[in-house]
């Protein structure tokens, strides 16, 4: 089964063959490396950019303007913060030209903690991104979702930000991507660049088929009746594990993978919370002015009288960075045990 890095690669391969993607670029995105997480190995339209994030976003905007279809990478989302004005500009270009200039462009960037990345390889970007109008924002938690959502992103008429949870990058999926060989390691032999000299290497692309996962659709990954948990990215699998564990403790939780952060699938959340009366939002961005707080506001706006307990957020601590030492990272962003405890506590609150 493909891991997420391979799934991204397969999607980009499909996109450059069939969806008109013209440029996949960024720092170390082209040969020989093919991306610091190997997401862009062996592709035909990749190239290495200068070390200049503003240039990367600006170039993507220009390419999109001129009818190209760029997929630009910011090597780590930690380094995207000096481009927020350009992201805002990309998000308002259609609007300020009163509908004339749309920018079909994808920006992808690895996000989040879980790899002991210390202060500058652990950032989350979902809070900042969801505050920028005019962008669609995606964050998969499985390889198949990454594949399908990236195909959708590459067909969008609008800018799409594709956030890839680093911690999940090397986790194999449980579902095959259509066309992916089913034997273990077969995919790796076909599409992972070899160790050693790569000058003669070419990827042997399996004939992957498109998967349709429209932007804006959440996925209920576990049905439950007593409590709703909404998450995405690194924390999503932990929420699922916690829900499964809590089932034996008598708590039946529904787990929703939001997948697209903007526009998000409010209908699915609303129906679930209307049913359970309790909701926990989980993400790992710092918790002040956090996207989960928006979801809580929406919840109180529309579901206040159905709530059996306060809607809760479990997110990253409001500290200036994620420290390198295990102890520091664990104290800064939600861990499995934190999620478990928060769910249990919420389930037990008296109405």
């Amino acid at each position: 089964m493909a891991n997420m890095a391979q799934a991204v690669r397969l999607a980009l391969h499909y996109a450059e063959e069939h969806l008109g993607v013209t440029d996949i670029f960024g720092e170390d995105v082209g040969p020989p490396l093919g991306g610091v997480f190997t997401c862009t190995q062996g592709l035909k339209t990749t190239w290495n950019s200068p070390l200049d994030e503003r240039g990367i976003i600006g170039m993507a905007m220009g390419i999109a303007m001129a009818g190209g279809r760029p997929v630009a990478e910011i090597q780590f989302c930690d380094y995207i913060y000096n481009t927020i004005d350009l992201l805002k500009l990309a998000g308002n270009t259609l609007w300020s030209s009163n509908g004339q200039w749309n920018l079909p462009m994808v920006v992808m960037t690895p996000v989040g903690s879980g790899i002991r990345g210390s202060i500058y390889h652990s950032h989350s970007f979902d809070a900042s991104a969801t505050h920028i109008p005019g962008w669609k924002i995606v964050m998969p938690s499985t390889p198949l979702d990454a594949y399908g959502l990236l195909l959708s992103a590459c067909q969008e008429q609008n800018p799409v930000l594709f956030l890839i949870p680093k911690a999940l990058m090397r986790i194999k999926g449980e579902e095959l991507i259509p066309g992916e060989p089913s034997e273990d390691k077969a995919l790796s032999k076909l599409i992972d660049a070899p160790l050693g000299d790569r000058t003669q290497w070419k990827a042997q692309w399996p004939a992957v088929q498109p998967v349709s996962i429209p932007l804006g659709q959440a996925k209920t990954v576990r049905a439950g009746s007593q409590l709703t948990v909404v998450s995405y990215g690194r924390t999503l699998p932990m929420c699922l594990l916690a829900a499964n564990a809590l089932a034996s403790e008598g708590v039946d939780a529904e787990v929703i993978d939001l997948r697209t952060l903007w526009p998000y699938d409010w209908a699915t959340i609303k129906a679930s919370v209307a049913k359970t009366g309790r909701v926990l939002y989980v993400n790992e961005d710092t918790e002040v002015t956090n996207f989960g707080e928006h979801l809580i506001r929406r919840t109180t706006d529309e579901l206040f009288y159905k709530l059996l307990a306060p809607p809760k957020l479990l997110a990253g601590k409001f500290v200036p960075g994620i420290g390198l030492a295990d102890t520091l990272e664990a104290a800064s962003v939600p861990q499995q045990s934190d999620i478990h405890a928060a769910m249990k506590k919420l389930a037990a609150m008296e109405p």
Binding site: G58, G62, M65, L86, L94, S96, W101
Partner: protein
């Protein structure tokens, strides 16, 4: 409809006195080089080495552009618009530029990444002035932004005019992108980016130089800087140690030139050479043009005519008259004609409605309905 709380970019009285503000300060000694030293030198020859038709066409566009800007200023002053910014003083250079542009949509044509002083270029390309007037008045009919953006913020996809946006210099980061597509596309379409002198202090200017000159991947990009020696109230020489902005390109192995942007003839000839190089060599060229700023920075500085900078139209008319290509009378008549036409257009625009409040939801996402994403059934 006067601005409720205008900000002041330069002291209004200074503008009223017809002077760009002096850089000298009450507390600091005079700066080593005073800005006046850098006024564009008037070295315009008696020779007019261009076809008569072209000369008169240039003059015509320049006058029309000046009349347009003066109409926009008049609209601001009479409360028909909140903010004015535009290009009076840059007509010579901007007109020459516009006449050389290959106009159309898509990579076969030139992509234009402009800043807010480019009206003469648009007119030279054949644009009708009514759109600029509508944008000034922020009517729903404003063809560039639907009443959303300031005057001078053109956007016209049919002619590859990228949306002018207020943040200084960001267009320099985007321009290599359209040029990159054109490099691959082939043909002779190029990208053109313009901006001011002060803005070259932003990192985006350097980004442009870096991305335009990648070895073997140089892009067909004409990088222009109109140097009026001002950034709002701040003289160039107070804040930047670069003598010739065009020198910034040298380390990048780029062709560069500093030219007199107040002379439409030399501007035309220099630009023509640069255009030809970029079109055929598919490599960047950096041109710095020394220009004037004739109505101060914007309406925030009063938007009054200044008398201490060269006026490219007055100079050009003198030369044309000297050569017998124009008479004072015909020049005055031309100006009067355009002034009247533009006043009429302004009267027309004044009758047009503003956009509905609900239009804020239009064009958030291409191909999607206009709606508040947070609207609930209960409202």
């Amino acid at each position: 409809m006067a601005p409720p709380f205008p900000w002041v970019y330069t002291p209004p009285a200074m503008a009223r006195e017809g002077k760009n503000p002096s850089p000298s300060s009450p507390t600091k000694p005079p700066k080593p080089s005073s800005p006046s030293k850098f006024k564009p030198k008037i070295t315009q020859s008696d020779d007019l080495p261009l076809e008569k038709d072209l000369l008169l066409r240039m003059h015509d566009v320049m006058v029309k552009a000046r009349c347009l800007e003066e109409r926009l200023i008049a609209m601001y002053k009479s409360g028909h618009g909140y903010f004015w910014i535009g290009g009076p003083g840059e007509e010579a250079f901007n007109t020459a530029l516009g006449l050389l542009i290959k106009k159309g949509e898509g990579p076969a044509y030139d992509y234009l990444h402009f800043h807010y002083r480019q009206s003469a270029t648009l007119l030279a390309m054949g644009e009708e002035p009514l759109g600029a007037i509508r944008q000034m008045k922020n009517t729903a009919t404003d063809p560039y932004s639907g009443g959303r953006n300031f005057a001078g913020h053109f956007a016209k996809k049919a002619w590859n005019v990228a949306p002018v946006s207020s943040p200084i210099e960001v267009q320099y980061s985007m321009a290599p992108g359209t040029a990159w597509v054109q490099k691959r596309f082939g043909g002779d379409g190029i990208s053109i980016v313009t901006g001011g002198d002060a803005g070259t202090a932003e990192g985006d200017f350097a980004t442009c130089l870096v991305w335009a000159s990648r070895p073997g991947k140089e892009v067909p990009l004409l990088i222009l800087v109109t140097n009026n020696r001002w950034g709002i109230s701040t003289p160039y020489t107070d804040v930047q140690g670069v003598e010739k902005i065009s020198d910034r390109g040298v380390a990048f192995g780029m062709r560069t030139k500093t030219i007199d942007g107040n002379d439409p003839i030399s501007a035309y000839l220099e630009l023509k050479e640069a255009f030809e190089y970029v079109r055929t060599e598919r490599k960047p060229y950096l041109v710095e043009a020394r220009v004037s700023r004739l109505y101060g920075h914007s309406s925030a500085s009063g938007a009054n005519f200044v008398t201490n900078e060269a006026d490219c139209i007055a100079q050009f008319e003198d030369r044309l008259i000297k050569k017998g290509l124009l008479t004072r009378q015909s020049a005055d008549a031309l100006r009067a004609k355009y002034a009247e036409e533009l006043a009429e257009l302004a009267r027309q625009a004044k009758e047009e409605p503003f956009p509905e409040g609900s239009t804020i939801w239009e064009h958030v996402f291409k191909g999607e309905p206009a709606r508040d994403p947070l609207a609930t059934e209960e409202g």
